[in-house]
Subunit: 252 residues, 2 copies
Amino acid sequence: MIRELPSLVIPGVTIDVLKASCATCSMHQLCLPMGLDDKDMERLDQIIGRRRKVARGANLFRIGDTFQNLYAIRLGHFKTCQVSQDGVEQITGFQMAGELLGMDAISTDLHHCTAVALEDSEVCEIPFSTLQQLLGDMPTLLRHFHRMMSQEITREQSVMLLLGNMQATQRFAAFLVNLSSRYEARGYSPNTFQLRMSREEIGNYLGLTIESISRLLSRFKKEALLRVSNREIEMLDPPRLKAVAAGSQTCN
Amino acid sequence: MIRELPSLVIPGVTIDVLKASCATCSMHQLCLPMGLDDKDMERLDQIIGRRRKVARGANLFRIGDTFQNLYAIRLGHFKTCQVSQDGVEQITGFQMAGELLGMDAISTDLHHCTAVALEDSEVCEIPFSTLQQLLGDMPTLLRHFHRMMSQEITREQSVMLLLGNMQATQRFAAFLVNLSSRYEARGYSPNTFQLRMSREEIGNYLGLTIESISRLLSRFKKEALLRVSNREIEMLDPPRLKAVAAGSQTCN
DNA sequence: CGGGTGTTTGACTTCAGTCAAGTTGTGTGG
DNA sequence: CCACACAACTTGACTGAAGTCAAACACCCG
C-alpha cells in the first residue's frame, strides 16, 4: 500500500496512501487533537492530508520552500536548522513524535528552517489553509493550536537562556534532562534512551564543539552521572544531573 | 482624565480611561489590526480594554502572573526577561511600539517572562479570551495573529543563531542592524537612534559582559563604523556594519 | 576485512570573562 | 546652581573556559 506518487517525488519522502487517523494515533493526547471530542476529532481527521514517510537524512522541507503544510510527527525524530548569512548551520531544535513542524513559516509563507529526519520517520501533512478554516469554528482546536505555538515560543526562550548564560556543563546537563522529560511524557523510560543525533549535532545545538560534548560525556561518566555506550544513555543519578542543569551543583 | 483606579493599583502602572483606538493609532499597520477593513477594525477596537501607562522601570507583568491579557505597545520600549533556576536573569527580547507582549503565556495561562518598561510607555490591554472569540469569526485577524506569533518564533530562532555561533563582534553588529531596521519600519531614521537599554542589558541579551559591549563600542568608533555619544548611536557606514553582522567582514 | 565516518583524548591557543581602577554622567538636596 | 553621591560606563591587565588542531581509536557497513 506504499508507493511513490510520480507527481511528487522528493528524495527519501514516500507517500502512504493509507489515511492517518488521529483517534487511533498514540500521540493524540500530546498532538494537535488534544482535548477534542470524538466529533471534532473526526472533523480534524478529514482535513489531514497524506501520511508521509521520511527516510533518515531526508529533508521534509527546506529554508525558502513555500509554506503549505504543517507536519505532525507520528513517529521518529527530526532536527530543524537555520543557516546564517555566512553559511554556518545552527540547529534550532530536535523534535519528536507528537510535535508540530513548520510553525515558523506562517509569518511569511516561506519556511525559515530546514527539517531533516534523524531516523526513518513518519509525519501527518496538515494543509494550513484548510486548518485555518477549521480553527474558525472549533474553539477547542483553536485554543490548543495557540497553546502549541506559544509552547514553541517558550521552548525557544529557554534555549536562549541556555545559550546566553549557562556554562558548557550546565547546558549539556539541561539538554539531557529535557530529553528525559520528553521521553517520559511519551511513556518511555526517562532514564534510559537512545540519542538520535550525533555528538556534532548536539554540540551545534548547544553552541559547543563536538570535542566539548565528547569531553562532557566522559566527565559525566567518570562522575557516575551517566552510563554511556555509543548513543545509548543511562542516567545513573537523575537528581544530581538535574542539580547540575539547574546550576546548583558545580560538578568538578 | 488619568487616574489610578483604586481596585487595581500596580506600582508605576496607571490606567488611562480614554479608550484606545486602532484606527487612529500610528502603529496600526504593524500591529494586530494590520490589514483589517474599517468594520473589522471597529470590532477589534471594541474588545480592546484600557490603555495603560507604564512608568520606566515598572513591570507590566511578571513571571508566574496569571495570563489574562496580551499587550500591544503603543509607545515606548520594553524588555522581557527570564530567570534561570539559579537566579540568573536572561533578557529574551527588546520590544518597541507595534509589537505584542505576552504570547508566551498562552501555553500555560501563566507568564513565562517579566516585561519591564525601559522608558515611560503606553500599552493597549487585549483580553485574550475575548480576542479568541473574535478570532473565530474574523479570518483576516486570525491570519494576522498567527503571523505575529510565527514572527516571534522566527525572531527567537535568529537569536538562537546569534547566541549559538556568532562571535562577539558579529553579535553586536547584528543587534545594531536589527534595531536599525525596526526603527526604519516605524518611520524613524535607520541610522541615528537612541539606545533605550543600558550596556549591561545589551550584554545580557547578547550573552556577553558589559565590558565586552563597551570595548566593542570603542572599537566600532575607532573603525569609523559608529559615532557614539552615551546612548545616542549614529551608524556611519551601514553597509560595512551589515557586512560585519553577516560575518563577511572581520573588522580587526 | 578494510575503509570511512564518528568519537575520544591530549596539547596548545584564543576569545571573552574577571577583577580592578578610573572616568563620566545623572539626579537630588542644600 | 552647585556639590555630592551613586550609577553607568570605559579601559587595562590578567585568567580561564572552551575552541582549534592533531592524532589515535572504535564502530558500522558493505
